[in-house]
């Protein structure tokens, strides 16, 4: 759908060759730190930002020469951009009136859309008499009014408070699945991206870092940036010592000792690698576990009890590791300076260093 998009602001290249294919009915999220180009890319798709080279294709037809109003894409801005001098119904019907719909048809459609976003009976309200969540729904309803092929959502939840954000996240996803509408969702919140998307596009400095399902992005990040962008991660540098084929197993020597892992792809002896170990995958115990792979000894430096989990910083031979115990009631609470054993899982993700 997008083909090699380049965009310059003066001499600053903000989109450095973006290519991306979105399948019909899919919800794709653009995520990345601020300034990574995600909103610019969305505006390129919507037709608001001219770009310097590349193609935007929708259903096999190039649309990049078309102004926003002639594209079958509708955008929903971060600040909703609702017309403050109009009522909810007038906002929603704005596009329908321009398309010269009949009065009774407009009314029907507005009722239908209000039902869809659960705002029945609020059609006559002025915009400033609505809560933030309601305004958000109106914005979505307005964008959906002309039955676009693609819905573009620019950080739609960032102006809502935390609890509302969770609810709206679910509702947007449900709505999207029900209407089977292709949706592009921009956010800087990686967890929002993980929880709502079919696929995630991680961007940094105008370049796509990785495209993949939430699980792929989290468990098999393609580089250090992605790994640390989605959740906390322990990195361990090492060198591959041994590669066995049967059973499929490799061994890495690291500052904390030798670690065995099941390789996801081919490694050679001598490869420099980086182990990506998520804090919640490490197991902690007071006594030495019976079966003996990847067991390290360490000392608790800081312990923090957060309720649903306990977070520990553990010193292992001069390396500091973060460990989450997800069921602290089961494992018990470890004290500071306590000597403990760590078990690193064998199915860890390993990056090859260049």
């Amino acid at each position: 759908m997008l083909n090699d998009i380049h965009k310059f602001y003066d001499r600053l290249e903000v989109l450095k060759g973006i290519s991306l294919d979105v399948t019909k009915g899919e919800l794709v999220t653009f995520v990345g730190p601020s300034g990574c180009g995600k909103t610019t890319l969305l505006r390129v798709i919507g037709g608001f930002t001219p770009f310097d080279s590349g193609e935007v294709i929708l259903d096999g037809q190039r649309i990049d020469h078309l102004p926003p109003n002639l594209r079958d894409t509708r955008i929903c801005f971060q600040n909703y951009a609702l017309f403050p001098h109009m009522t909810v119904a007038e906002n929603i019907s704005y596009g329908l009136k321009i398309k010269k719909w009949k009065k009774n048809k407009i009314q029907e459609r507005v009722e239908e859309l209000l039902r869809l976003v659960k705002l029945e009976g609020l059609g006559g309200r002025m915009i400033d008499k609505l809560s933030g969540g309601q305004q958000q729904r109106v914005a979505v309803a307005r964008a959906l009014s002309l039955e676009p092929k693609v819905l573009l959502l620019d950080e739609p939840l960032s102006n809502l408070d935390a609890n509302l954000r969770l609810t709206m996240r679910g509702e947007i996803r449900k709505l999207q699945e029900r209407l089977k509408i292709t949706t592009i969702f921009v956010t800087h919140d990686q967890f929002e991206a993980m929880s709502i998307s079919d696929r995630i596009v991680v961007m940094k400095e105008g370049v796509i870092q990785q495209i993949g399902s939430p699980i792929e992005i989290y468990e098999r990040p393609e580089n250090e940036f992605i790994a640390s962008f989605v959740g906390y991660v322990n990195f361990l540098d090492g060198v591959v010592e041994r590669v066995d084929l049967r059973p499929d197993m490799a061994t890495v020597s690291t500052p904390v000792g030798e670690i065995n892992f099941v390789p996801e792809r081919n490694f050679n002896v001598g490869d420099k690698v980086k182990l990506v170990i998520r804090p919640e995958t490490i197991n902690m115990s007071r006594s030495e576990p019976a079966n003996g792979d990847n067991i390290l000894q360490g000392e608790v430096e800081i312990g923090m009890y957060v309720g649903s989990l306990a977070k520990y910083t553990v010193q292992v031979k001069g390396e500091r590791m973060i460990i989450d115990q997800t069921n602290p009631r089961e494992t018990g609470i470890f004290k500071e300076n306590e000597k403990i054993y760590l078990t690193i899982p064998k199915n860890i993700h390993v990056l090859r260093k260049n």
Partner: protein, 565 residues
């Protein structure tokens, strides 16, 4: 718990007590003094005009007002003035909107030059346009002769054109400001939903900008009806209130009728002043939040672009030509008649003498004005006493009052003891101080709003008394506002005409009055040369202001006001 003893402030001698009292009450003492000054130099003169208009030798009377409404000439003058205000406002808003739309939404290459031209009249006294129109369309005007025009610039249409050109920047600046604060996403949303550009302007942009446009309109209206110079120079036989007042007082020495005309002129100004402040506080559409997103240049449809461009370019062209001909005329014996280069206008002794006098008066006014303005701003922002808003209103009102009215007020109020000032230089300076106080006060207020009161509290907490805090903390922080107030008052005072025209004494002429007289007697060369000198002085002041803004980061330019004359 043991009963705690009340810690008493140690007894001190009488002097110490007085000092403590002064320190504690200083802000109130200051407020009282400032209010007294405002009462004497702003309220009392206005009151004097009001009294004069209803007082006859045998007590109170409304007979002068009766005469006003009976005698067709006076009433016509009121109608003309209101008509002028109305037409001017509509034209200025239209041109201002077109220019502002292009400079905020149009092609990038166009934005800077167009904005520059739209603001150009700010550096000139408004009556520059009267002079340029005389040069072009006067009886011996270049275009009159070249094209054999029968149309006379002296009259209603001439005044409308000159006034429009003079007040374009005011309308432009205010509309540009509201256009900039309008979230571009709103227009983009409408675009996204299929609206054409004309439809967006009609259904989104203008409705949302309405409060801002209305405010701009009110200001232009007040400025126009109160403006003296253009109407007096170009009015010809068409009566307008402001120049008629002058004619009454200076020509016929009819102070009663002059006062009546002043009161009539003041009424719409006061109504609009209140309407304006009501609009400021009243409900307006908040363009729903978020960060301001830079408006990208968009493809404008020719349907919008072409008429907007034509209107803007036409206005811009006339502005440029006006400056051009006045400049050339300064170095020409009589432009259009005797086209030879001379320096006699520039070197004219009377003109330079008047410029020197104007600088002197304006410097005094600027100094006093900046001090009073700074103190007033402090009292208004930090004071917590009853009547604070009233003081603020009064100190800002000088701006909304027609200059002719204040001029007459000073003439009436300070002509006799106890305060006899007429004929001196001080009456000119004080008049400027209190008329243009608003600028200094507003600069001070906006600066103070940037300073957290906790800075002063911290100083008090560390043991400083009020005096020390004010002297060591407040004044240094407010210094940029003081300088801004100083330069603005200076700039405004030096070109101002409408009030001082009543107050100058024969031996002590001011530049603005000199220009007025020269234009009236057809000495266009001298009028042009003197005007150009004022333009140079104003440009110089703006450069300094710009430098201060850059140096201190205190944006004084946002308080930009059109020059009140």
């Amino acid at each position: 718990m043991a009963k705690a003893e009340i810690l008493s402030i140690p007894q001190r001698n009488l002097w110490e007590k007085i000092k403590t009292f002064i320190n504690a009450e200083l802000i109130h003492i200051l407020a009282a003094i400032l209010f007294l000054l405002l009462a004497i130099f702003l309220l009392y003169p206005i009151l004097a005009v009001l009294i004069k208009s209803i007082k006859s030798p045998d007590g109170l009377t409304l007979s002068y007002y009766a005469k006003f409404f009976v005698k067709g000439y006076y009433f016509q003058s009121l109608l003309n003035t209101l008509m002028l205000g109305f037409i001017n406002t509509v034209v200025c808003l239209t041109v201002g909107f077109c220019m502002a739309y292009l400079t905020t939404r149009g092609p990038l290459s166009l934005r800077k030059p167009l904005k520059f031209i739209a603001m150009m009249p700010l550096i000139a006294p408004p009556y520059l346009f009267a002079i340029s129109l005389i040069i072009l369309f006067g009886r011996n005007g270049i275009l009159t002769m070249a094209l054999g025009l029968k149309w006379s610039i002296y009259g209603f249409s001439g005044v409308v054109i000159a006034q429009t050109l003079a007040f374009i920047p005011l309308a432009y600046l205010m509309i540009e400001n509201t256009l900039m604060s309008l979230n571009p996403n709103l227009e983009e949303s409408a675009y996204d939903l299929g609206a054409s550009e004309t439809r967006i302007i009609r259904t989104i942009t203008i409705p949302l900008l309405a409060p801002g446009i209305l405010k701009a309109g009110l200001l232009v209206f007040v400025m126009t009806i109160a403006e003296f110079g253009n109407a007096a120079i170009l009015g010809g036989r068409t009566p307008f209130l402001a120049p008629d007042t002058y004619q009454m007082i200076i020509g016929e020495a009819d102070f009663e009728m002059g006062s009546v005309l002043s009161v009539i002129l003041i009424i719409p100004c006061i109504i609009i002043f209140f309407l304006h402040s009501y609009l400021l506080t009243g409900k307006k559409f908040t363009t729903i939040g978020g960060k301001p997103v830079a408006s990208e240049p968009r493809k404008m449809t020719p349907l919008v672009k072409i008429p907007f461009l034509i209107i803007s370019c036409l206005a811009g062209l006339v502005i440029l030509i006006s400056f051009g001909v006045v400049f050339i005329s300064s170095f020409t014996r009589l432009l259009g008649v005797k086209n030879e280069i001379v320096f006699s206008h520039i070197l004219n002794f009377d003109s330079n003498r008047a410029i020197y006098n104007s600088i002197q008066v304006s410097l005094i006014a600027a100094f006093i004005g900046a001090i009073i303005g700074t103190l007033l701003a402090y009292v208004i922002v930090r004071g917590k006493f009853f009547g604070r808003t009233f003081i603020e209103m009064v100190s800002l009102s000088g701006f909304a009052l027609p200059g002719t009215v204040i001029g007459i007020g000073y003439l009436l109020a300070f002509n006799t003891p106890p305060i006899k000032l007429t004929g001196g230089i001080m009456i000119l300076a004080l008049n400027c101080v209190f008329r243009f106080l608003a600028v200094g006060v507003e600069a001070g207020i906006s600066k103070l709003h940037q300073i957290n009161i906790e800075i002063e509290e911290a100083s008090a907490d560390l043991g400083a008394n009020f005096m020390t805090t004010f002297y060591k903390i407040v004044l240094p922080i407010m210094f940029p506002a003081f300088i801004a107030g100083f330069i603005y008052t200076f700039m405004t005072a030096i070109v101002s005409l409408s009030a001082v025209v009543f107050l100058v004494s024969p031996g002590f002429e001011l530049a603005a009055v000199k220009i007025f007289d020269a234009a009236a007697y057809g000495e266009i060369g001298i009028a042009s040369a003197t005007t150009m000198k004022l333009v140079v002085i104003v440009i110089f002041c703006m450069v300094i202001l710009n430098y201060i803004t850059k140096k201190t980061g205190f944006d004084v330019s946002q308080k930009k006001r059109s020059v009140t004359v």
